[in-house]
Symmetry: C2
Subunit: 135 residues, 2 copies
Amino acid sequence: MLSKKSQYAFKALAYLTEKYKQGPVLIAEISKKKKIPLKFLENILLELKKADILDSKKGKGGGYFLKMDPAKVKVATIVRLVNGPIAMLPCVSLYFYERCKNCDEKQCGLHDMMIEVRDASLAILENRTLSDLVH
Amino acid sequence: MLSKKSQYAFKALAYLTEKYKQGPVLIAEISKKKKIPLKFLENILLELKKADILDSKKGKGGGYFLKMDPAKVKVATIVRLVNGPIAMLPCVSLYFYERCKNCDEKQCGLHDMMIEVRDASLAILENRTLSDLVH
DNA sequence: TAGATTCCCTACCAACTTGATAGACTTAAA
DNA sequence: TTTAAGTCTATCAAGTTGGTAGGGAATCTA
């Protein structure tokens, strides 16, 4: 399941997508409109900025805004960034791979199945972008 | 991600699938062969028994065994039982549904996307069984 | 029926994660 | 130089995860 943090992140990103190319948006405005706890949202937006998804301006007239075209930002990227692995097992994760202990991947039935699940999920998440969040 | 508990559960179930119709298997044997902490495994197996996946016999010659044909036990069932929701959001879960707060499902882009992901995962997990774990 | 064997049950625990808050600091505009 | 923003560090309560401890209850066998 996506954490609350991830859900907040997507709501905020959807809002910033609507406001794309309309100048910086205040954290406080996003917080109010999307009903996200202000200080928690601060952390999330900062993290997205450090990951080069968002950019910001300080001082009066400042705020947050998307660093690039929302149609270029994959949903999969955001999920990995804020929520972690998409795969159901570390041993089938592309970006967070870890070998399983006491389990030969070559003959583990679960392994193969979870690769299928991963690929099915990625087929969707890698082909949807922030612009698909707003319609 | 599947919890360690879930991974243990699948390993144990795979083992019991191999031994299907060969009489009760000791917790200690499963623990040793699959390298699962004994007492932790006890809890897991007991839970699976209460959920009618396994049955057991006490005393000498006792142990655990599958209650029904492994080809009849869906992987999706086990995941839901031991790990929880398969969906990425409560508001798109079939078995653990919860309405989202401050979010109209009818116009939430994330909602629709996560329904797609859920269905793609279920297409696999609902059509694989314990027998697919061993080959 | 005694004793061994095996699962059953309740309780507990440390470590980690999650969701959230507080407060001081920095940068930039007016 | 004041004010309006974002930035940073720290902290915290509650819940979850992974695991352990120890005795109780059922069953088999001698």
